[in-house]
Symmetry: C2
Subunit: 392 residues, 2 copies
């Protein structure tokens, strides 16, 4: 709202980003002329901008594609696969993960270490994350990728400065991640909620997904990432998305948060496993596939509770889609019908503007991939920062 002034340089900044995004989002590698036509900039301007982007290592020319008809062949422009890359990190209850995504969005490296993180002290966990990060970085550099930054996904509430205010299922409280991760010599690290980064991952996964959706992350807790008009919404103070503590029945069972009837008590991982008398998600899935009536009933009940909460969100925010992530992704075949039914029943505008309910396409990797992607997205959206970092 109260935005800054615009000087001449901001012009260039904006248009560099525009050209880069145009090259990124096109179906086929566009020519300079294509970009000029799409952006309504001049060919002269686009040429100048592209020169800068190529010099900065963000764009590369690919051999001319065979053309139909006469005319000089166009040089296709693609995001440089050897340009700056993003490092994604994730701390979760029972694993640590890292991955590297290049500027074009391709996952170039992935690493997961399964182990219960709850007993360890936060410093110990962060040290292991730093180790994982160093490994991933070395691997990337062996492929000729320069890692531009890192993002860490954590299942909890994170402040704007990267302090984990509260991560109940990890047993963390007020952990200052940036100082704990100082080992990554100078690499800028951002920290964010796991559901937020997973939502970003989903947003950028498909070629053209919905611009407004709710990503629901089912884990031991239930989080949500809210994407509105193609941008992640973090809330006024960074604490949006606490879907797990939306009330489903105001006088339902007591929740660990102190309230009653929270969604978590009906559709959280532990509630589902208890209701289905299952030992784990794999077991649950197997028995659901086999048609175990108790398991099917438990999943239907969880889906209905989830549907009630999600329908409220849709009524309120009018999102186009709901993405089922975390443990909900593999359970989607059994949860989805109940969620869809509640949306049909409760969303006022459902008749003329339906809501797409679908499982996550990235599955369990959504948060790490989203984290790594968020780093390269920042460069894509404001290439100037990167270019001036290269050539000051």
């Amino acid at each position: 709202m109260t935005d800054g002034p615009v000087r001449q340089a901001s012009l260039r900044e904006h248009n560099l980003g525009l050209v880069l995004r145009q090259a990124a989002n096109a179906m086929r590698p566009p020519s300079r002329a294509d970009i000029a036509a799409a952006t309504s900039l001049t060919r002269a301007t686009v040429s100048a901008l592209v020169d800068d982007l190529i010099a900065g290592g963000l764009l590369t020319e690919v051999g001319p594609a065979p053309r139909a008809g006469a005319g000089r062949p166009a040089a296709g422009l693609v995001l440089s696969a050897s340009g700056p890359a993003g490092l994604g990190l994730e701390i979760n209850v029972d694993y640590l993960a890292a991955c590297v995504v290049d500027l074009a969005g391709a996952v170039r490296h992935r690493d997961v270490r399964h182990a219960d993180q709850r007993p360890g002290h936060p410093d110990q966990v962060l040290a292991e994350v730093a180790e994982l990060a160093a490994d991933a970085r070395a691997h990337a550099e062996r492929e000729g990728l320069a890692v531009a930054g890192a993002a860490l996904a954590v299942p909890g509430l994170v402040t704007a400065h990267g302090v984990v205010r509260l991560a109940p299922n990890l047993g963390w409280r007020d952990v200052d991640v940036p100082t704990g991760l100082a080992a990554l010599d100078g690499l800028p690290v951002t920290v964010d909620n796991e559901a937020n980064l997973a939502a970003l991952g989903e947003l950028h996964a498909g070629p053209a997904g919905p611009a407004s959706f709710l990503y629901v992350s089912g884990e031991i807790g239930i989080g949500a990432g809210i994407v509105l008009h193609g941008a992640l919404f973090r809330g006024a103070r960074g604490w949006s998305g606490e879907l797990g503590h939306v009330a489903v029945r105001p006088d339902g069972p007591a929740c660990s948060c102190g309230a009653r009837g929270c969604l978590e008590q009906y559709a959280g991982q532990e509630a589902i496993l208890r209701a289905a008398a299952a030992g784990g998600i794999d077991d649950l899935r197997a028995r659901a596939t086999a048609g175990d009536p108790g398991v099917l009933a438990a999943l239907a009940a969880a889906g209905a509770a989830l549907g009630v909460a999600v329908a409220g969100v849709v009524n309120l925010l009018d999102v186009e889609a709901v993405v089922l992530g975390g443990i909900y992704a593999p359970l989607a075949p059994w949860l989805r019908p109940a969620v869809v039914a509640e949306i049909h029943r409760r969303v006022l505008t459902d008749a003329w503007s339906p809501v797409d309910v679908r499982p996550s396409v990235l599955g369990a990797d959504a948060a790490v991939v989203g984290a790594a992607g968020s780093v390269v997205r920042a460069i894509r959206d404001n290439p100037t920062k990167w270019l001036t970092r290269i050539i000051p």
Copy 2:
């Protein structure tokens, strides 16, 4: 996200708006030098921009304020009170209203006609609105105000093109307002949901209110206007804010929408009056003031239901404030405690980032004033459009 290109002219466009907003939001009439300092533009640039804005009738100079210390006295700049004005219109169940707001945000004219609008045909109602609008416009012109545009508030779902898709309490369905209001010879008219415009009214009412809040409009139905980061959020397709049909108890009483346990069944006007056995809001308020236990219990119950729904919203969106509007404004003394209690109980982050729950400052006028304000805000945010309309 996929925004357009930035040409040289966009620079000017942006900076004109920046200067104008700076003059509007300042505590005292700022000088050109003040604006330059606040925006980090040059004094030269600000002078050039201010010249354009004065020539276009959007800014005016006020006599130099007495200054402390040496130096040439500064010419204060204020939004022109004789510049373009906005016409606000409202159709509600039991009244029609109009108001005129000048560029500085002052309400210069107001008119309300109480009458039940439900029996009349939409065309008939729109004809009366047109009459009211013509009156208001004539009145404004007698004061030397040129009306730049109009905005109409309607208690229902409105498409982007101004068609009222559904207004249940008015009995309207697919009413094309712009063609029905064509009588306002050429005046551009936008149509929007009543709660949305009321939220805008609240946003601009105070000098510096919260940038993210939920405006709850209690009427026969319950609507909500969502303001995020200082901008109204309309949803992906324009149908956000259906708070009245958020489920409070999934298997509660049947609602007119076809679902069960919607908030409207607990905290809608009719539900409250029925529970309190009251004839109207005035009666209810009088008996609440007198301490009637039945009325107090009914209001506490309604407040609790509202609080459950609102707490869910806060958990999800992390808004800084909740504004109680419509009939909730006069009933706030009795509703607020229950709402606050539910927020304390259910909002996870409440302990370290509290939510302000307060009654609307504009009261019943919020929607009309917000509608009129939205017209002048559009000019404030993009003065270029207005300037080129004056001098093409």
